[in-house]
């Protein structure tokens, strides 16, 4: 398994390099002058040109790439053009917020989605099943920022249980009050996806011979479902959860904006608007690493869950 992990990480470096080069070139092709954006519209041409020079933007793109690469290999990913702070440090400052939101949302999604999907599969085509399918469809169709605003109106304004600005820290109570609404808003949507996948995976598994055999043997129904059937249905569920984890890290930006939480998504949008090249490059590196790691984790989990899968 170690060989497996090492080989995957080696592939990851190649992916990283390709993504980085692509991003490096793309952001410099897109129109927009970072120096002019930083200094504003009253600045003289001289000030703008001087800043461009100091930021190294007047060099040919090949040279800029060489400068960047040599720095990156030494561990220096550059400083943000806007704040002047090291890029990696800026990203790591907000990363915990995004990871926290993503993980809690996904856990909520799993806690809600898996049982709902199992329940719907067991009681197929009955009222429960229809109810679950319709609500999961609603969850899929609801844009995250609409869910966010509705939750705020309901649980922060009408019932003043939670703050509108969901970014407090300091005590457990503060953390709990800050994470609940954003996690519920994203969690409900991920629950929708997970429900559907669980339901269809369970339906497939429940029609297998070994399930019938287990029942015929007299194994209690509960054990059949939760110990035998679900275990076999886990592979597609884990795939979706893994994919969704990667997606959520990037796509929680709308939720971050509505709940005024720090996050990678907001950092990315800000960097894009200001054409902060080093920040964009640094963030792409982090994102690529995260996606690679999540994929790796997913594959390792397969190996853990399904003894037939040999990771080599």
């Amino acid at each position: 398994m170690t060989a497996f992990v090492v080989r995957r990480l080696a592939f990851a470096c190649v992916t990283l390099f390709a993504v980085l080069t692509l991003v490096f070139v793309l952001v410099r092709i897109v129109p927009g002058d970072p120096a002019q954006l930083i200094l504003g519209d009253q600045a003289s041409r001289e000030a703008i040109e001087s800043l461009r020079h100091r930021l190294g933007l007047d060099l040919p793109i090949g040279e800029q790439y060489a400068v960047f690469l040599s720095g990156a290999l030494r561990g220096d990913w550059g400083v943000s053009m806007v704040t002047g702070q090291p890029v990696i440090r800026e990203v790591l400052r907000v990363l915990p917020w995004t990871i926290e939101l993503t993980v809690v949302s996904l856990i909520l999604g799993i806690l809600l989605g898996v049982p709902a999907g199992v329940y719907a599969a067991i009681h197929r085509n009955r009222l429960v099943d229809y109810a679950v399918r319709i609500s999961s469809l609603l969850g899929l169709s609801f844009p995250p920022f609409v869910a966010a605003i509705v939750l705020l109106l309901a649980f922060a304004i009408a019932l003043p249980w939670f703050p509108v600005i969901s970014a407090q820290s300091g005590s457990f109570a503060a953390w709990y009050r800050s994470i609940t609404l954003p996690a519920v808003s994203l969690g409900l949507i991920s629950a929708a996806y997970i429900t559907r996948v669980t339901r269809s995976a369970m339906l497939e598994v429940l029609s297998e011979d070994y399930v019938r055999t287990a029942r015929a043997k007299g194994v209690p129904w509960n054990a059949v479902i939760w110990r035998h059937a679900l275990r076999n249905a886990l592979i597609p569920i884990i795939t979706v959860v893994g994919l969704y984890l990667g997606i959520l890290i990037g796509n929680s930006v709308l939720t971050e904006i509505v709940f005024s939480r720090p996050g990678l998504g907001k950092l990315l949008i800000g960097a894009l608007n200001q054409r902060d090249y080093p920040m964009l490059q640094g963030m792409m590196v982090i994102y690529t690493l995260v996606v690679v790691l999540v994929n790796l984790l997913t594959d390792l989990t397969y190996g853990f869950v399904d003894p037939r899968v040999k990771l080599k």
Binding site: G32, G40, A47, L51, I165, A167, N273
Partner: protein, 514 residues
């Protein structure tokens, strides 16, 4: 069991207890995602300028609540004199002003350093404002002398507590270097205390402030980019003061809330349609005149909301020193517009391209303009691009029609120079924001800039505006005021009409009432 019960109830109460704003902490909600450059000689956005204005002073200041240079009063300089020619200005610096965090007393040496820094063509966003400065010297510890190459209209305004006039402390800047924009050091009523990225900047009261210790002890400047979240947080009492959605409907809705003050604050940012007079079909003055006749300013203000906007009066925003409030604008006359188009060779109309930003407020305006132009047969082909792209492309002459919305220091010279002097034409080495390639009033603009007789100066400015309007370098449309709301438990300590820093000043007198 009882202990458990109490624990559960307390936990529930803790969880349910709403956050009360303390009476000495002011929480402000701003509509941006994060702080930008917190350096007063670079900051150019509304969020950054407002925050910095609470930390810095100028040599002089415009009375809090006003925007006109008529209301200039002493700030770090307690008095000043100038020679009759207006080229030598001597300021007496107030004694005993302390820079934040123990960086020593602010003296004439700091003033020299600050002005030189703001004039630095290579690093300051506002170096253009100081282009006439010849020498800056500290005559003695508390006397500053500025020598100009020529008299400058409204010179005092350039050393006021706005933009390049903000005074920094030499010791702090030299010691901190690049970190200065992470922890700005000034002399103002509030000091920088903490910054949490994407969350807030915290300021604390400067107890040594030369006008007296502020009554507000703490300001938390929160970054809440979503308009609806900001409104909800304001309603819930989490924010005491918010930058509103710049929209009449927001104003109406928020004014209905109990215990709330809403204000459409000066300055008005003027929307002007710049027409590139060097490209077809706009090089034909009849086409430009047709555009001018097709715009119905009254309808635009009705559309945008009369409580938060007003019609433009000239190619310079209203209320500035030198604005011709009765400038000869083209009236709304769609019949004449069509006739002019036909005369110019476009009886069946004409299509003109405009690259425009996706910024919501500006976009709704250009769409209204498009509809008005359509009525006379002009098809405005709008290409929407993202804001930073817009700024880059209009400076490359890629858009024949440029809609720009801006306010500047309230002296006509600034607006005229940046937008209508041929030296400022985009693409040239001295480019600023002259998108129309206008060159019809250069003589008047430049003469007015150095004219010492206010009567002659006003006449020159009037002539300049008349010429620019007549040549239709640009079509003035309307002015958008700055919308803010705050709880009526907050007494600002002065009457607020406007602020050049685009945010309500928070002074040592600002406090909460019971």
């Amino acid at each position: 069991m009882r202990k458990l019960g109490i624990a559960i109830i307390s936990a529930a109460l803790l969880a349910a207890a709403p956050a009360f704003a303390q009476k000495t902490t002011l929480v402000v909600g701003m509509g941006s995602a994060d702080a930008g450059k917190l350096d007063p000689h670079i900051a150019s956005t509304t969020p950054d300028k407002g925050l910095l204005s609470w930390m810095f002073n100028g040599l002089v200041r415009i009375r809090p609540g006003k925007i006109s240079p008529e209301f200039i009063e002493p700030d770090l300089a307690e008095s000043w004199t100038s020679n009759p020619a207006g080229t030598e200005w001597t300021f007496k610096i107030r004694r005993g002003v302390q820079c934040h965090y123990g960086y020593g007393e602010y003296t004439a040496e700091d003033a020299v350093y600050s002005i030189k820094r703001a004039s630095n063509k290579a690093t300051s966003s506002y170096s253009n404002d100081f282009s006439a400065v010849d020498k800056v010297e500290a005559i003695d510890k508390y006397t500053l002398k500025i020598t100009l190459k020529n008299p400058v209209a409204g010179f005092l305004g350039y050393v006021a507590n706005v933009n390049g006039g903000n005074q920094v402390c030499k010791k702090a800047v030299e010691e901190m270097g690049d970190n200065f924009s992470k922890k700005p050091i000034g002399t103002g009523p509030f000091m920088f205390a903490e910054y949490q990225p994407q969350q807030f900047v915290k300021l604390v009261a400067n107890k040594q402030y030369f006008r007296g210790a502020p009554q507000i002890q703490e300001i938390i400047y929160r970054y809440v980019p979503a308009d609806s979240s900001r409104d909800l947080a304001f309603q819930a009492g989490e924010l005491d003061m918010i930058y509103g959605k710049q929209d009449q409907t927001w104003m109406d809705r928020t004014a209905k809330l109990p215990g709330v003050k809403v204000l459409a604050m000066e300055p008005g940012e003027e929307s002007v349609l710049s027409l590139n007079i060097t490209v077809k079909p706009l090089d034909d003055i009849r086409v430009r005149q047709a555009i001018a006749y097709a715009i119905d300013r009254k309808a635009i203000v009705a559309f945008k909301g009369a409580g938060s906007s007003r019609e433009a009066v000239s190619v310079v925003p209203s209320g500035y020193l030198g604005t011709d409030e009765k400038a000869p604008l083209y009236p709304y006359d769609p019949v004449k517009a069509k006739a002019l188009l036909a005369e110019a060779g476009y009886p069946n109309g004409v299509t003109i391209k405009a690259i425009h930003t996706t910024l919501t407020g500006m976009q709704t305006l250009i769409e209204a303009v498009q509809a008005q132009l359509k009525k006379v047969g002009i098809n405005l082909d709008i290409e929407l691009v993202e804001h930073a792209t817009f700024h880059a492309q209009i400076r490359k002459d890629l858009s024949p029609i440029v809609h720009y919305q801006a306010a500047r220091f309230p002296v006509a010279d600034v607006y005229l120079t940046q937008f209508f002097d041929s030296a400022s034409i985009v693409g040239t080495p001295t480019a600023v924001t002259n998108f129309s390639h206008c060159n019809v009033a250069d003589a008047e603009i430049r003469a007015a800039r150095v004219e010492t007789d206010p009567v002659k100066q006003k006449a020159l400015w009037n002539t300049a505006q008349e010429k620019i309007i007549k040549a239709v370098c640009g079509v003035p449309i309307y002015e958008q005021l700055q919308l803010w709301a705050w709880t009526d438990k907050l007494d600002l300590g002065y009457e607020l009409q406007g602020s050049l820093n685009l945010s309500p000043p928070i002074t040592e007198k600002t406090h909460f009432v019971k």
